[in-house]
Amino acid sequence: MSVQATPVGVAIPTSAPVPRSRFSLFMRQVRRRPIETVGGVVLTVVVLTAIGAGFIAPFGYAEQEFTARLLGPSGLHFFGTDSLGRDVFSRVVYGARTSMLASTSGVLISGVLGTLLGLSSGFFGGKFDLALQRVTDGIHSVPLLLLTMLLVVAIGNKLPSLLTVAIALGIVGSTTVNRVIRGSTLAVKAMPYVEAAHSLGATSSRIVMRHILPNVMAPLIVALSVQFGAFITAEASLSFLGLGVQPPIPSWGGMLSAEGRSFFKQAPWLAIFPGVAISLTVLAANLVGDALRDVLDPRQRGS
């Protein structure tokens, strides 16, 4: 048995060094992770559906036909119709748009806000850091879903409901991102290259932008990918409870809520298709998130 003394991270020269393009590296990951790849494909389909909803849906999401109420799935109405005679398939298709809009804008807000707070908290420290972390602790001691509900109600109906949901998700989510970024910033700040930049006379803003930010990107992406899946569920849960996206805008969670509930026994397709859509999308988002974490965070590899 030979003992290899190669330090971690140093490439061992192989007999035939193959130059690898980004594409071939990507394809290698695809071959290695078949399940995660399926997740990626599903998520891509959902995103494309969200973008092209107008072309895919055979009917408008609010289009009612009173002679066609509570019809079962058929060639004309793939997923049947609801109690108002609306085409469930079209509503599920438009629901993808609602879901993707709410979750991506939520993630965007959470990412920007959380990174700003976390970077300044970790880099400057002091009283601001102390105060912010206490507030974060306080927030994190109550169920985040309840807090999001409260924020949605607090913003009220001054803004479109979809935007309200996104803002509430973003603000609550930013407290988690803030924690992640603060921790990573503290770790990066202690690195010799940051000290070197300091001694060369680099300004604080240059150090933060050029040296710290790029090095906290990996944990940021991992945290945001986890949030993406969580936000899809959260938006659906809020709309399910009647506090999220308001009708007539179709939301997968809303389609499962009170309005349809009384008809579920008569028309089970009303309960099944939106639920399958949410579940598949969240599952796909989580699989992609897992793959991203595996690639970006080697410490967690294989977990």
């Binding site: 399940i35 206490r134 507030v135 602790d137 306080g138 927030i139 994190h140 001691s141 109550v142 169920p143 985040l144 879903l145 309840l146 509900m149 409260l150 924020l151 109600v153 607090a154 009220g156 109906n157 001054k158 899946g229 569920t233 659906a236 849960s237 399910f240 409870l241 506090l243 969670g253 499962l256 579920f264 026994k265 089970p268 309960a271 639920g275 949410i278 579940s279 969240v282 599952l283 988002a285 989580n286 699989l287 897992d290 967690q300 294989g302 977990s303």
Partner: protein, 320 residues
Amino acid sequence: MLRYVTRRVFLMIPTLFILYTLLFVLMRVVPGDIVDLYLEGGTVRSGAELEAQKLALKQELGIDKSLPEQYGIAVKKLLTGDLGQSMTTRKPVTDEIKRRGPITLELALLASSIAVIVAIPAGVISASRQRTALDQVVRVWSIITLSVPNFWVGTMVVLLPALWWGYGAPPVYRSPFEDLAGNLQQVLPAAIVLGLAFGGTTTRFVRSSLLEVLRQDYIRTAWSKGLSEAKVMQRHALKNALIPVVTIIGLQLGALFGGAVVTESIFNIPGLGTLTLNAIRTRNYTQLQANMLLFGTVVAMMSLLVDISYAWLDPRIRYS
């Protein structure tokens, strides 16, 4: 140890106080208070009379004063241990909490037990048979259970038996002390739905934590001593792997309360979750504050218990 615990308990106070203040302000900027919701659509429609009624009711509830004044009064009361009266029932908010708390506690305990009972064996199987078909099955199962939203699983669990066998759980909640079977018919399905979702997350943690431990030198030593797989797993690996798992079970409690809001409303369980949801809907500030404070305290206590259990699970950890 005692000093450590005392210090931690005292550190909890400012955190909870900040939480209380945040909620207090947030709720009072919410447009439309309970009085508006009460009187709008009532019998009195004329402007002046309606305003007079509103003012009287606001005075009665103590929400006619300015925000700082209200805050001052509330904090003074809080310091004497008085959480105030519910704005809907006009009884102390603690009445409802005492009545509904045990119901949610039952749900939470059942759900976490189910999560742990599923997660530990599944995680152990998955980690000890890493990269086998069995491991793949466990991994896919756990990511499915944590992805599928529990309100949909709950809806299906209520709907499908009704559809296939015409079965419905008893519509009214029954106390387990009066009618255990009737109680479980309603609470157990909810606990399973909630428990499986948390079991998914917990399984992943058991697996990754165990994989980490299985790479350690002392596990190799245990194998080379000739110990059986069961011995190596139980005596050496699992004991060490459980520490991070305890953390995650403890920290999931907050999310469990959040999940209870949704599952309770599907399964018609009159617990703290439905109470909180109603309090948000009716702008019942006092009840909402009290509930949130309770959630916050329980979560903070739980994370303290987690830290204490570290010292018990791992004698190397000492607090001073």
